[in-house]
C-alpha cells in the first residue's frame, strides 16, 4: 500500500499531463482539411495497397529468443541478491551459477551458429 500509492499518484499526474497535451493541441491547432493531408505518406506516390503485408518470421524468432532469455535473466536477479550473503556458507551458489550459465551459454551458442540474426 505504502509503495503503491506514490506510484498511483504519479500515474494519475502523468495521465493528466497526457490529457492536457491532447486537449491543448485540439484547441490551439488550426483545422484546414485538405484531402491529400489524410493519405498515407509514401514519398508523394499514391499508396498502391494497404500497409498490412506479411513479414519475415525472423522478427518473431528475435522476439521469442528475447522472451526466453528474459525469463532466464530475470531469475539471475534473485540469485545475485543472495550471492554476496551466501559466500560465507561456501561455494554452493557459485556452482549453481556455473550450471545455470553453462546451460544458457549452450543455448546462446546454438542461436549464434544458426546465423538466424542475419535478417537480410
Amino acid at each position: 500500500m505504502e509503495t503503491l500509492l506514490p506510484l498511483a499518484i504519479l500515474l494519475v499526474v502523468t495521465l493528466l499531463l497526457c490529457a492536457g497535451i491532447l486537449i491543448v493541441t485540439q484547441v490551439l491547432g488550426p483545422k484546414n482539411p485538405v484531402p491529400s493531408r489524410f493519405e498515407a505518406y509514401e514519398c508523394g506516390i499514391k499508396p498502391e495497397s494497404g500497409s498490412h503485408v506479411p513479414f519475415k518470421s525472423s522478427f518473431y524468432l528475435i522476439a521469442v529468443l528475447f522472451l526466453l532469455f528474459d525469463v532466464e535473466a530475470a531469475f539471475f536477479l534473485p540469485w545475485a541478491l543472495v550471492y554476496k550473503d551466501s559466500l560465507a556458507e561456501g561455494p554452493a551458489l557459485l556452482w549453481a551459477l556455473l550450471v545455470y550459465l553453462g546451460l544458457m551459454a549452450v543455448g546462446l551458442v546454438y542461436i549464434l551458429q544458426k546465423k538466424i540474426l542475419r535478417l537480410n
Binding site: 506479411p54 518473431y60 521469442v64 522472451l67 534473485p78 550450471v99 546451460l103 543455448g107 538466424i116
Partner: protein
Amino acid sequence: MKEAVFTFFSLFTLLTAAGVILSRNIIYSAFNLVLCFFGLASLYLLWGATFLSMIQILIYAGAIVVLFVFVVMLLNFEKPTEQKTRFSIIVLSSAGVWTLALILLRVLSKSLGEIPSLETPAKASVRTISKLLFSQYLWPFEVLTVFLLALIVGIFVLARPEKEETP
C-alpha cells in the same frame, strides 16, 4: 483507503480481462491484455508482493504480450477472419462456466476462510524468496533451465523462416 484502491484495481483487471475475450479486433485484445497484467501487478503491489509485481510486468507485460503483438503484426490480418461462434455454444458454455465459478467461490471461501489472516500481512521480502528459491527449490530451478534450453532448440524447428517469404 485500501479498500477503495483494491476495488478500483480489481474492477480494472476484470474489465480489461473481459475486453480481452470480447474484442473483435485482435490488437485490442492484446492491448487489453497489457492493461490487465498491469492491473494484476498493481494488486500484487497492494498486497506487498513487490518482487512478484515487478516480475509480472517485466515478463508478462514486457515480453509475453510483446510476442503476441509481434505475431499480430507479422500475420497482419486486415479484417477479423474469425467465424462467429454458434449462439447455443456461447449460452451453454457461459452457463457452465458461471456455475463452476459459483461452486469454486463457495468451496474456496469455506476452506480458505478458516486460514487465519495475519493482522499486518508479513512482507514476504525479496531476500526470503530468493533464499528459498536457491536453497530448497534449487533443483526444480535447474530443471527449469534445461527445459528452457530445450525450448530454444525447439523453437528453431517450429519457426524456421521460409526462403520464399516476402521481406
